[in-house]
């Protein structure tokens, strides 16, 4: 049978997308975290141990779908999915498979959980949609972006390793100990992704407190809440956040290209031609630039490197 399907093209596209994701994550993620997880996910030594858990992951995934989790169905879940698409576009993340916690398993899962293997080929974002729906939109955006940030920064394997080892009773304490250094760092990059999506610090900090309350017993030991709050407050002063806020304000205050074209097409009064107007009226003033309109990035905003450096010193990582 001759095949018209060019699978190689899709492999290449995946390769290109993974390169793009790498570029996107270094714009906000914590450098030490990115480097450590790259080693954990790609080195032969680390993979030898991680794959022992990965071998169980597909079986566990099938079991989970038999009662604890379900695929999003129906128009009721569309708003969530659309929100995730919006955040994924902001962070340039490949969309993961979304799974919803069933009512029977609600108390066993946090609001948002990233799971997957080290190669980012089977990522799941597990959502407790009912509880998420009760949160204010900025807090919900923070938590969803935090989950997507974990996936983009390659932390899905870390969560999977903790979950599988706990569920299967296979050396959970050893896994917890061995991956402690990774777990401690993993929260900061994801919190940053959350802040970018939430927009403002206050709701992000509230969501952070909510997120760190009563984690399930299998959850990796992330950094302490105080440390995460300080790191988030410092990132809030960074140029990355300022740029995202600035562009968001600009988009809010200015109509999109489609709206402008629409207005021009259906203007109630004829639009004057430049030749006719040149004799009688002055040429129209150019629209104010974003900087003049107050959408600039503050000069005293910190570079990402400075946020990274302060965090590294405080954590005593290097």
């Amino acid at each position: 049978m001759t095949s018209n399907l060019d699978l190689g093209r899709f492999v290449q596209r995946r390769q290109f997308r993974s390169f793009e994701q790498d570029l996107a994550r270094v714009t906000y993620a914590y450098g030490v975290d990115v480097r450590r997880f790259r080693w954990l996910n790609q080195s032969m030594t680390a993979q030898t141990f991680m794959r022992a858990l990965e071998l169980r992951w597909s079986a566990v995934a099938e079991e989970l779908m038999r009662g604890e989790l379900q695929v999003p169905e129906g128009a009721g879940t569309l708003s969530f999915l659309q929100e995730i698409v919006r955040i994924a576009e902001l962070l340039r993340v490949t969309l993961p498979a979304v799974r919803l916690v069933t009512p029977a398993a609600r108390d066993r899962w946090p609001l948002v959980t990233p799971l997957g293997n080290a190669r980012n080929s089977d990522d799941w974002l597990v959502l407790d949609a009912t509880r998420l729906a009760t949160l204010p939109p900025p807090q919900r955006a923070f938590l969803l972006a935090q989950g997507l940030g974990h996936i983009q920064c390659g932390h899905a394997g870390l969560f999977m390793a903790h979950y599988v080892s706990h569920r299967e009773h296979r050396g959970h304490a050893a896994v917890r100990l061995a991956l402690r250094a990774f777990s401690r760092l993993a929260a900061f990059s994801a919190d940053r992704a959350g802040l970018l999506a939430a927009g403002e610090y206050a709701p992000a900090a509230e969501a952070l407190v909510r997120d760190s309350e009563l984690p399930p017993p299998w959850y990796p030991p992330l950094a302490e809440l105080g440390e995460r709050q300080r790191a988030l407050a410092e990132f809030d002063h960074s140029r990355v956040v300022a740029r995202v806020r600035s562009s968001r304000r600009f988009v809010q205050d200015h109509p999109s290209v489609h709206e402008l074209v629409d207005q021009l097409m259906h203007a109630s009064e004829p639009i004057a031609l430049p030749e006719a107007d040149a004799k009688t009226t002055a040429p129209p003033e150019p629209p104010p630039s974003p900087i003049a309109a107050g959408y600039e990035v503050p000069a005293d905003a910190w570079p990402l490197a400075r946020c990274d450096q302060r965090l590294t010193v405080r954590l005593g990582v290097l």
């Binding site: 032969m44 995934a61 695929v71 999003p72 190669r119």
Partner: protein, 610 residues
């Protein structure tokens, strides 16, 4: 129930708003129906009981038996050719009610002639009776047989269905539950929105029970309950009546006569419950009107996007179908059933073909030498390839479903596009999961161990051993690595067919759900609007065509520009179709909002102006 009752006034407000939306859509008749039904239920507290059934099942005889007097013509030949309303009144009277409400008193003979459908008339036939057996709050409606196609379709029986509050389906005990009766019952339940939480009541009158031997009656009832369990979940109220016996000897103590009395008591009980039932029924009926109007907005939204020639062609088709009575439920349903089967089969074949193709390609890809690199990306690439195919298949499905809709009602709406867009969004997230199992830990650990041992010996052993290891270690590593790749390849060969099988069966189930959802929506639309479907479609398309005629014609290059380089003249007025589309979107949002408000009964309606 008073006018000050906030629940009642809220329902009135919503009915007015719905009527207003219907008028804005160019369907003032529908708006009048909505207002009239709401007023009947809430202001006059009239419960409408439709008596339905096939020809010669004894519908009119049963009504006569229930009333205790022979008000309606009945006989051995089909006698009811028109819809007749029977209400409680101070004295016996037979009237022809004109559309403006004026009543003309009729003598029994001319009335019987009209009721038999022997003479055309405009308006409604009404009988008032002082019978103590008919409660004041109940309006009985006698209808022609559902299989008397000419009369039934040309009149309003099925168009009346959504307006009924209780249905008495009369069946013949000697030939009970034919396929047509089950199909009709399904339509009736669709029209009233089901019996659960809608206030609607379904009663089955198993007439002529006297002709069934006593020993067989239990089996007969079991058969009815079994057959209806697929259509109607929950218990069904069955009355084993003998209408003829009850008319001739109302005092006799036979089962059939006692059951007529029980049915009479049931109707009385329904009337006494009307203060609680009718608001619920009003809410359910308004919800069905919202559904119908939403279907209409989808049809008009698409029509507004059509080019003038295509729109005119569809309008012509609808007009012809209306004149030739091709827009009847049975023809449409058979078209839909055949189309659905064909679409589902094509979808199944396409998925099967692509699955084979994908499996062949994946297995070929596994034979490549750079497997270790591609293995990391291959599962994701398989997901992408399948989603790519799925989006193309969805587009094909959309066209097929729109064609099916056009075959059924000679035009179509945007529903197929919206349903598939929702399905695809969910599919995009779910993604087919094809696992490529990593090689076993033992092989990986062996590779690592040889490396570690080799390195240790090189550093701490003697020169000869070091040299030996230097040669052996890379060879051993190469051997183990090759073995590892072989193991990965073998594992993948075994896992890929199973994983693809699972993904494709899930995908097929999802696409079939989208097809079935569209078909169910289409059937619902047809059942809800049946009597007025043709006129509604015609009105919607004519409105779109009229707006199209007002739009600025598209500029043809070379004709409108006097000089090269001149801009085409810009219309000073905005495009009416664009404005209509924007208004339509607003109406659609308002309808969605109304639907939510009607689901939550407690909240009073905001004022329409708000």
């Amino acid at each position: 129930m008073t006018a000050e009752d906030p629940q009642t006034s809220g329902l009135h407000d919503r009915a007015r708003e719905l009527a207003d939306i219907a008028t804005q859509l160019g369907l003032p008749g529908l708006g009048e129906h909505i207002l009239a039904d709401t007023s009947r239920r809430l202001d006059r507290a009239q419960l409408r009981v439709l008596v339905l059934g096939e020809i010669k099942q004894g519908k009119s005889t049963l009504i006569n038996a229930l009333l205790g007097e022979a008000l309606l013509p009945s006989g051995v030949t089909p006698t009811t050719g028109a819809v007749v309303q029977i209400v409680h009144g101070e004295q016996l009277g037979r009237f022809l009610v004109a559309p403006d409400g004026a009543r003309t008193l009729l003598e029994p003979e001319p009335f019987a002639k009209l009721a038999r459908g022997k003479q055309d008339y405009v308006g409604t036939l009404l009988v008032t009776t002082p019978s103590e057996h008919l409660p004041a709050g109940v309006e009985l409606v006698d209808t022609p047989g559902i299989n008397d196609l000419e009369r039934f379709r040309s009149l309003i029986s099925r168009g009346e269905l959504p307006r009924g509050d209780a249905i008495v389906l009369v069946l013949d005990a000697t030939q009970v539950l034919k396929l047509t009766e089950v199909a009709f019952l399904r339509d009736a339940l669709t029209a009233v929105g089901g019996t659960e939480g809608t206030g609607a009541t379904l009663l089955l009158a198993l007439n002529r029970i006297d002709l069934v031997p006593e020993a067989e009656r239990g089996t007969l009832l079991d058969h009815i309950h079994r057959e209806l369990s697929a259509v109607l979940p929950g218990a069904v109220e069955v009355f084993t009546t003998d209408a003829r016996g009850a008319s001739k000897a109302p005092a006799s103590d036979t089962l059939g006569v006692r059951e007529v009395q029980r049915l009479r008591d049931r109707l009385r009980a329904l009337a006494s419950q009307s203060p609680t039932v009718l608001p619920t029924r009003t809410r359910a009926s308004l919800q069905r009107s919202v559904d119908l109007l939403l279907h209409h907005t989808a049809v008009e939204a698409r029509a507004l996007r059509l080019e003038s020639a295509a729109l005119q062609s569809e309008l012509k088709e609808v007009r012809e179908a209306l004149v030739q009575r091709r827009l009847d439920l049975d023809t449409i349903e058979s078209t839909i059933a055949a189309g659905r089967a064909q679409i589902a089969q094509t979808c199944h074949d396409n998925l099967g073909n692509f699955r084979n193709e994908l499996q062949t390609t994946v297995l070929a890809q596994l034979e490549r030498s750079d497997l270790r690199q591609t293995a990391d990306l291959l599962p994701g690439a398989i997901q992408d390839a399948l989603l790519h195919f799925t989006y193309h298949e969805a587009e094909r499905l959309r066209l097929a479903l729109e064609q099916l809709t056009r075959d059924a009602i000679h035009t179509c709406g945007e529903q197929a596009q919206r349903r598939l867009a929702e399905t695809m969004l969910n599919l995009g997230f779910r993604g087919p999961v094809v696992q490529l199992q990593p090689p076993s830990v033992g092989v990986e650990a062996g590779t690592l161990a040889v490396g570690v041992v080799g390195t240790a010996v090189m550093y701490f052993g003697n020169i000869v051993a070091g040299l030996l290891i230097t040669v052996v270690a890379p060879l051993a590593t190469m051997f183990l690595r090759e073995r590892s790749i072989r193991s990965l390849r073998e594992a993948a060969r075994q896992s890929v067919p199973h994983a693809l099988g699972q993904s494709f069966s899930e995908l097929e189930a999802t696409l079939l759900r989208a097809i079935d959802s569209h078909v169910a929506g289409l059937r619902e639309y047809i059942v809800l609007a049946h009597n007025q479907l043709g006129t509604h479609l015609q009105a919607l398309l004519e409105r779109a065509a009229a707006l199209g005629a007002l739009s600025t014609p598209l500029a043809v290059p070379g004709e409108l520009s006097a000089k090269p380089g001149d801009l085409p003249p810009k219309s000073a007025a905005p495009d009416p179709r664009h404005i209509a589309l924007t208004e339509l979107r607003g109406l659609e949002q308002r309808l969605e909002q109304l639907r939510l408000e009607l689901v939550a009964p407690a909240s009073p309606s905001p004022s329409p102006s708000a």
